[in-house]
Symmetry: C3
Subunit: 387 residues, 3 copies
């Protein structure tokens, strides 16, 4: 059973081609199928560490038309109440053509596409960074995703390596709607395989200049703060301010499975109790993005006018969440930034901490040694708020 690809320099695995215009005929790469007897196994073995190559581009399956059906399910799964995403009338009044999709719904759909190619053989999702929302997405748009391998670093054990990819999401018209970097620890198929040249990309924080891309110019005079649920504007938030989001949300197996399938995310640990029973946790892991969406929905209670997530600086899943546990959250305002040339909205850098089975009225910390054992998520991101 040899899966090494003689043409790996040109093409890695299913759908993985250089941008140089290489043809996509099947059969070019032995990696697309492992020979067993006379035929080839046609299921997707995904990629191992040595299959990735710096600079390679992977066009991911499956393009997905997002619809009002997805929006309704997203509401049913998280209970979000941000007016811009809930109401065509509200969104239309301030300058959107209609209600855009929730930013994290867009993120999850794009992220989900990358899983079968990037992280199906991952030991761990190590982090993500430099996530920017670049254009709004509306019901009816079709989303697709491409990832570029931007870093590789074999671990000293020779059993695994870290792969860095920059993943981009596109609308049907070619507009890039989202971009983010993530890095995962991936198994090697063959410990003896030669190591790649090591390359670790520089990761930076998102610059404030880039924060307004996905938000049209809005008419603040037509932004109805009663309907939005709170009177607070950009100027009302102060750096260092902490907000308890109060409410708790218990997660059920059916809910996170439906969410994760809605995103066509195929990571096996979320769905297969038969195999997870043998894992160290003994049960299905909940997709980290589910926690993010819960925390975002809870954050409405205190951040009701933070109507758009424009960037994610960093996300850290500190501990796993399991069905039956209850998620709470609190946020701290890390920074405030005006947007160059815009007086309609300002940007708040927010750190949201989510916990499980622990209310956040005393703001449990998530910093180094002092991290509260109940903390499951630390998310550092930018939101836009009317001025």
């Amino acid at each position: 059973m040899t899966g090494r690809c003689p043409a790996a320099g040109e093409r890695i695995g299913r759908g993985a081609i250089r941008w140089s215009g290489l043809s996509r005929e099947r059969g070019k790469c032995c990696f697309v199928g492992l020979a067993i007897g006379a035929t080839v196994t046609k299921n997707n073995p995904s990629h191992y560490f040595e299959d990735f190559e710096l600079g390679s581009l992977i066009r991911h399956a499956t393009p997905r038309t997002v619809t009002q059906g997805d929006v309704a399910l997203y509401t049913a799964l998280y209970g979000g109440r941000f007016a811009v995403q809930s109401s065509d009338a509200f969104a239309g009044a301030i300058g959107y053509p209609r209600a855009p999709l929730d930013d994290f719904l867009v993120f999850h759909v794009i992220f989900g596409k990358t899983v079968p190619d990037v992280s199906l053989n991952a030991v761990a999702n190590l982090g993500y960074a430099q996530c920017r929302f670049l254009a709004p997405v509306f019901p009816g748009d079709t989303l697709s995703a491409v990832s570029e391998v931007i870093g590789l670093k074999e671990n000293s054990s020779h059993k695994t390596g870290v792969v860095y990819v920059r993943s981009s999401g596109f609308r049907q018209d070619g507009t890039k709607v989202l971009e983010f970097i993530r890095w995962v620890m991936v198994r090697k198929r063959d410990e003896a395989a030669a190591a790649h040249d090591e390359h670790v990309p520089a990761l930076t924080y998102v610059a404030p200049e880039a924060l307004g891309s996905a938000c049209p110019s809005i008419s603040v005079a037509d932004y109805d703060f009663d309907l939005a649920g709170a009177p607070y504007r950009f100027a009302d938030y102060t750096v260092g301010e902490r907000i308890d989001h109060v409410d708790g949300m218990t997660v059920e197996e059916a809910e996170h499975q439906m969410a994760t399938r809605l995103y066509q995310n195929t990571a096996r640990v979320h769905f297969n109790q038969f195999s997870e029973r043998q894992s160290r946790f003994g049960r299905r892991l909940i997709y980290g993005g589910h926690v993010i969406s819960l925390a975002r929905a809870l954050s409405f209670n205190g951040l009701a006018n933070a109507f758009h997530v424009s960037a994610i600086n960093a996300g850290r899943h500190v501990a796993p969440l399991f069905a039956g546990e209850t998620v709470f959250a609190w946020s701290e305002i890390l920074a405030r930034s005006e947007l160059p040339g815009r007086d309609d909205v300002g940007a708040l850098q927010v750190r949201t901490i989510a916990t499980k089975d622990r209310p956040c009225s005393d703001f449990p910390p998530a910093a180094g040694d002092q991290t509260d054992p109940a903390v499951i998520l630390e998310l550092d991101y930018w939101v836009l708020v009317p001025r």
Copy 2:
């Protein structure tokens, strides 16, 4: 920590303004945020009894565009089979522009909006009355809600009081689609706070003249009784007739949570197992409206042509429902009424009784001392049936 509002006569809490055209600038009312140190807590503490004032109007967050996605979820949650709500073709044939939303879906969405302002600090939801459906709602419509405080009565304990509100739902064009009265027992923030003048509104039953508002003139000749599922018309039902709806439906935690979030209802008892574990029931309570929708869906089996709920006289949640329990229902025809000037439809006043873990073939009673211990809901409402 004082939350009393010096301008309470003009404005109560978040989004609560008189209809007199008062400005909505933030900061006018100290109640919108409780001071802690230098900043203000921005989460919503909702209203306590002494915050409500007779005649005040509360414009609720969040406006919500209802869509075919909501319709599909509603079907998945309850399994309703009424032809008018299921089929654009059927609805179009009899005179609707297309299939309208299920009446209770409209009710739940409007009701949900009132929760954060009216009943987040409620000890008990005491009742509702005079609910009238005034105009049909279609996918694509945006719903918003306003409540007027129409009654106040402090309890002798001085710890709580009863608040009566008339809540109205509107479409994006300003058409009122729904109106109902409900009353809740709400905590006082401060037992020593002065009592309001007591005012208890007169509650009446809905008059038959008002029952046709949300139903266009229909063509009974084009109403296909085969496709609708039963041959029975207005004239086939007799006062006193009792109908066992036969089927039982078991409710799961994920189902009622998804439903209640779909309605953006934020009542904490439905979602937070961590805190409910400490409650007297030890578990999450299921939203009473979930039981109503289940009973309505079950009632198809015997009331298949009762295609529109036009009014609710009274609803009583006799006992709570919990996940894992199975809902059954039966109905009695209380009255029959022709509609003035209409020969297409007639109105039936129906009392539907829902039970848990008890089939209804022997019509378990829900009257005073004789109330069967399995009864969880008694709903007195009007439906329209073709003549």
Copy 3:
């Protein structure tokens, strides 16, 4: 309490009429309601064996407009990733007007309509055959169903009999979109009732000529195999080839209940834990169609370009599935067939075997004595694949 119908030759039960143009006035048939005292029970007792008559046609309730909401829920329930059904852009590029509904979603909706009339009193669903998808269905279409009784065979016990029906699904414009035969064992109301003349229809396999009906001519040059998820075409599959679909999917009660209600399928065993507690299994049975849809979604991993199910030769539910169990699947290519006059697509006859709590890497058999005890489904069907 006599439920025999004096006019049974003309009309059986609710909505059951001959195609000969008989009027549909209510009251013609005493079977539509059983007399109790002065009134008639209006719930649906469905049909017993002696109520069916050879050649009768049953027009089923409830017509159903299928929407993008249903599509989103279907994705959330099964996680399907076939590009044609997921993306309007992908479907549009190859020649569909837009993304069609998943074939099994259409099947389940039509099947669901037949349950209240055909199988509510069934002891067992014995099988189905000759299922053909005849026209694509798109969001916005309204589906309705009609069944013809094509066979009757009383069992020697005189307690039950087998009823064969040919069920057809139609779009709002009258186009037939689906046809299948199924047979169920139904109780007799009265063991002493005279037996029907026995008639057992001949069942045949679907002919390859009939396989292309629901698939427009597609442009293979515009079929993007990267986006579709695999490079394999018709010519890459060989008869006898076996494919492990690798992944496992655990099913929750809330999921299969929501799915089955979405299809408006009223079979009681799926929803009523109170009564199923007394059954031989002690719990709710999962709708067999739910297993089919799970197996189809899992089969993407190996059959990604099998974008359309064009026919089902036979389906066998070997054992029941219960919530908490994990479904796996594998497939064997039984035959390959070109389609007369078409060079865009070819047909593969596939047998997919689903198991519970047992991975399929060693292809557990489902044949007679050798059937693995973990097998729950054997499905023999035709799919179309680009050439």
